[in-house]
């Protein structure tokens, strides 16, 4: 029953071609293109339809794009320029036309032009969050809300969105607000051009003029929601999108009823590529998979068709058996996945969660608006004061519409000269965005316990680093802790002289209020981030805290406090390095480093030079 249309295509391929992981992913990519094309034709799909293709620019991506163009020949393909500005994106006042016509003329942005066409976004991972959020909103509303340049209008638009994600595995990827609204996610980064050639001859599905979508049963809706949750996608959109994909897959088979295989295929096309956790595939199944894997080398074709059959049987048996839905689905999914892919996805999923925990925040603070250097932003109305540069073209554009009114006024007053009238309110100021500087915060343990005999070396190392930071134009801050509390000896500064003086005057002796020291550094680092600088914290201690946050003695409480502050620092995702300056590397310092997610460097016999070398490596 399910053995028609798409199913046949996949299974015949699996039998005739060497069933490698690559060919399956490639055929999934083509299937995704089919779903994309069908969903675009159907008027009731949720908002606009989007697909994300993750791979570097190259022949594989070109081949996929050519296939898409073949499937949707009548559409225009608009490319979103890299670094597009608000006005280009959503539109604004067309000054030329406005002046010619003598009444306001709206310049249509690329999102308006893309109405019922296809918008292609290359290098989507480099896109500004703000631009991504605007595209996401237009996709939701199916219209552009334009409030610019004295214009206020709503322009309906619906488009197909093809997003090319060119990020590497460890990079941040595309803005989440947009990612969440894309229905299909295909990772082609591990597909070689050979796999593409293998399947090039595949028949394309011809679509009827009025596409039909399948219907989901109540139970299938439940399955779909459970699947989305199982893959760690708590947003409601992925589930909603999976429902549409499943319906489309049924539609591609010209069937009114969605089969289980449609849901399973839908999971591959829509959820796998963005999963943050992997559901536990039942052991037995995994075992089978492994076995299949091993057997491949000996006897490929019979085994693979067996596997296909197995999946088929399961889907047939589904309606009768009273097994929990997700298990059956997961089994079917496991049987349906290319071998090895799951492991790979697990690794990526782990990476994604780590990145979300650390990267997202780190990124938001690490860019700042500088005045005179860096990438151009849209210019903005402003005053001409210290260091601001006038954007002449924008200023003239702002002044032009008012010329008639101003001339009238001036003539009325004293019949002044007939030239372009520019007022301070017209001034547009150039704005730039620049990668921000960084700040190195040293947290020095000056307590009597052990650091006293290392204080000299520590001072020497910090001084060397200070010199280097100065050469790099980095800011440097210095926190020391001893006795009952921590002191900020030097708030982040670029002044080398001040830093050296503060360091030289640093006394030693007393208790070890580690928690206070870390907290001071944490506060400074947070403040630096707010200022748009990236903060690196370098802690030099032996980790044997004996004074707690409140300044009272007592080892257990002191250690507990220190660990808690460390967790705080970790949650903010600062770069931290802990140099254990104890004579004998202790477990305590290592534990602390782990709690902060810090690089741990034991230095039992460090000299100032080796210390500074270690820090230099960390800071890159």
């Amino acid at each position: 029953m399910a053995n028609t249309g798409v199913e046949t295509l996949i299974s015949t391929e699996d039998c005739s071609v060497r069933p490698t992981q690559e060919t399956q992913i490639w055929s999934d990519a083509l299937l995704a293109a089919d779903v994309f094309a069908l969903a675009l034709q159907h008027k009731n799909t949720f908002g606009s339809v989007g697909i994300r293709i993750k791979t570097q620019a190259g022949p594989v991506r070109d081949a996929w794009f050519a296939a898409l163009q073949f499937k949707l020949p009548k559409r225009k393909y608009l490319r979103l320029p890299v670094g597009v500005g608000d006005e280009q994106l959503i539109g604004g006042l067309d000054l030329n036309a406005t002046l010619l016509a003598g009444s306001t003329v709206v310049r249509r942005g690329i999102l308006a032009e893309a109405d019922s066409e296809i918008l292609v976004v290359p290098m989507a991972d480099a896109m500004d969050t703000n631009i991504a959020a605007q595209i996401a909103m237009v996709m939701d509303d199916r219209k552009i809300k334009l409030e610019r340049d004295g214009l206020s209008s709503e322009i309906p638009t619906r488009f197909g969105l093809v997003v090319f994600d060119e990020s590497e595995a460890e990079e941040a990827g595309i803005a989440e607000c947009l990612n969440d609204r894309l229905m299909l996610h295909i990772d082609l980064s591990h597909v070689s051009i050979r796999a593409v050639e293998d399947t090039q001859t595949r028949n394309l599905i011809t679509q009827s003029e009025t596409p039909v979508l399948g219907e989901l049963t109540a139970k299938q809706y439940e399955d779909i929601c459970q699947m989305a949750l199982a893959f760690g996608l708590s947003s409601i959109r992925p589930a909603s999108q999976l429902a549409i994909v499943a319906k489309c897959l049924a539609g591609l088979r010209s069937s009114r009823a969605v089969e289980q295989s449609d849901v399973v295929n839908g999971v591959r096309l829509s959820l796998l590529g963005r999963a943050t956790t992997m559901p536990e595939i039942p052991d037995q199944q995994q075992h089978e998979m492994e076995q299949t894997d091993e057997d491949h080398t000996d006897q490929e074709e019979p085994q693979s068709s067996d596997q296909e059959m197995g999946a088929q049987e399961q889907s047939d048996g589904r309606t009768d058996a009273e097994t929990p839905p997700d298990d059956v689905l997961l089994d079917a999914l496991a049987a349906n996945l290319p071998s090895g892919l799951l492991e790979q996805l697990r690794a990526t999923a782990k990476l994604t969660t780590q990145r979300n925990a650390k990267g997202a925040k780190g990124r938001s603070g690490s860019l700042k608006k500088a005045v005179t250097r860096g990438r151009r932003l849209s210019s903005r109305r402003g005053e001409l004061r210290r260091g601001n540069r006038l954007d002449l073209i924008a200023t003239l554009r702002a002044a032009v519409p008012w010329q008639k009114a101003r001339r009238k006024e001036i003539k009325f007053q004293n019949g002044g000269p007939d030239r372009v009238q520019i007022r301070p309110s017209d001034f547009y100021i150039k704005r730039y965005k620049q990668k921000s500087g960084s700040t190195c915060l040293f947290v020095v343990d000056a307590s009597g316990s052990t650091a006293l005999n290392r204080l000299g070396e520590t001072k020497g190392a910090v001084e060397l680093l200070l010199g280097e930071s100065y050469a790099r134009r980095d800011h440097v801050g210095l926190v020391s802790f001893r006795g009952r509390s921590a002191d900020v000896l030097l708030p982040p500064t670029r002044s080398l002289v001040r830093a050296k003086r503060a360091l030289a005057a640093l006394p030693g002796g007393g208790g070890t209020p580690l928690a206070s020291g870390l907290y001071s550094a944490f506060e400074l680092a947070t403040e630096e981030r707010r200022q748009g600088r990236t903060a690196t914290i370098v802690v030099l201690t032996d980790g044997s805290a004996n004074v707690d946050m409140a300044g009272a003695g007592g080892r257990p409480k002191a250690l507990q406090d220190a660990l808690q502050v460390a967790t705080c620092i970790r949650s903010e995702g600062f770069d931290v390095m802990l140099i254990d300056v104890g004579r004998q590397p202790s477990g305590r310092a290592a534990d602390l480093a782990q709690a902060m997610d810090a690089t741990y460097v034991p230095m039992p016999f460090a000299s100032s030079t080796s210390l500074s070398n270690a820090v230099r490596q960390q800071a890159g």
Binding site: I90, T129, N130, K145, E147, G150, E222, A360, K408, S425
Partner: protein, 348 residues
């Protein structure tokens, strides 16, 4: 609600009880200071706020007034209406409560209002064209992705939201008009932090998450699909629930007038705020108002400790200073502290 524009009905939203509750209370007492919805993607923040538009009772406004001034003369009045001695007897119109979207990418001139460019071009006249802030007077201003808004726009908004007046001094214009609105923001804090000044301006804050219950999630998807299939019919089928809720809000507004907060409850509120160490007095004032609105909506004759307890997390969670020794979410911290305070109270 216009014939073409059917927003998703407020009452049809599955789950999201605390967000819905916060929005309802802001409708009961608009002086509460707005609602901030923070949470992950795809949790229905935007849907809930936009749904509010179709829910709210209509208002009466001076017909010729661009700023929807109240003919009864309450609140801030624009210069024309303030000079009109016969304001009560001027022509009035019944209008829907404005819910104005402030889209990302809006330019300053459209937010504040600026010279009418068309009239300047055609006839060389200088006429002020009111902006979004004027449209939002006596209604709601909604900012999606509030954390992505440009800083200079945020500054302007804060200033206007605090004073209730929009003052425009540009292009040779000098205009002052009323702009008293309820600020509703939503955003995902992972995509950019909100400045503390902006956080403090919101009366209530809600952490939004998606329901983990599969049944609820299925409901969400199916209702959304039904809505996408035929918005008009879907809205019609929820019209009765919406009207019912609207009447409840109106009733609560009436009840609010006679509702006083006694000293014991005020003491409790102060105790909570001191224990939490919230900066300034805005926390106390908001919690008092929120507890009153809650009591009015619940239909009880007096404000009790229970109302305070229910509203404290919404009114205070976003005003806490970050505690270095506690990385729990703010709402959790408020809850924990409330439990302590109420345990000692009950024991006493």
């Amino acid at each position: 609600m216009t014939a073409k524009n059917y927003s998703y009905p407020f009452t049809a939203i599955v789950g999201q009880d605390s967000l819905k509750h916060a929005l309802i209370l802001s409708a009961v007492d608009p002086s509460l200071g707005g609602v901030l919805a923070l949470g992950d993607r795809g949790t229905g923040k935007t849907t809930a706020v936009r749904g509010l538009a179709s829910l709210l009772p209509t208002i009466t406004a001076v017909k010729s007034c661009r700023y929807n001034c109240d003919p009864a003369g309450s609140g801030n009045l624009c210069s024309d209406c303030a000079q009109n001695n016969d304001l009560q007897n001027s022509k009035t119109a019944t209008v829907a409560v404005p819910v104005v979207d402030l889209p990302l990418g809006a330019t300053e001139d459209r937010v504040l209002g600026a010279l009418d460019i068309e009239r300047a071009l055609v006839s060389g006249e200088k006429v002020y064209e009111p902006g979004l802030l004027a449209d939002a007077n006596r209604g709601y201003l909604y900012i999606d992705e509030v954390n992505l808004l440009e800083d200079h726009l945020v500054d302007v908004l804060l200033d206007v939201a605090a004073s209730g007046w929009n003052v425009v001094e540009r292009e040779g214009l000098s205009v002052r008009h009323p702009a008293r609105f309820v600020l509703v923001g939503s955003g995902n804090p992972e995509e950019g932090e909100l400045r503390p000044q902006l956080l403090d301006r919101f009366g209530l804050s809600v952490d939004v998450g998606t329901p983990a219950d599969v049944k609820q999630r299925v409901d969400i998807i199916r209702r959304r699909e039904a809505y996408d299939e035929n918005p008009a019919a879907f809205c019609k089928s929820w019209q009765r629930q919406n009207t019912k809720l609207c009447n409840e809000i109106l009733k609560a507004r009436e009840a609010l007038v006679d509702l006083n907060v006694d000293d014991e409850v005020l003491g409790l509120i102060a105790e909570i705020c001191i224990a939490l160490g919230t900066d300034g007095l805005r926390g106390e004032l908001t919690l008092i108002k929120a507890a009153r609105a809650e009591a009015a909506f619940a239909g009880s004759g007096s404000v009790t400790a229970d109302h305070v307890r229910k509203m404290a997390p919404l009114a205070l969670a976003h005003r806490l200073r970050r505690n270095p020794l506690d990385d729990a979410r703010n709402t959790v911290r408020v809850e924990r502290l409330l439990e302590e305070i109420f345990a000692t109270r009950n024991a006493a």
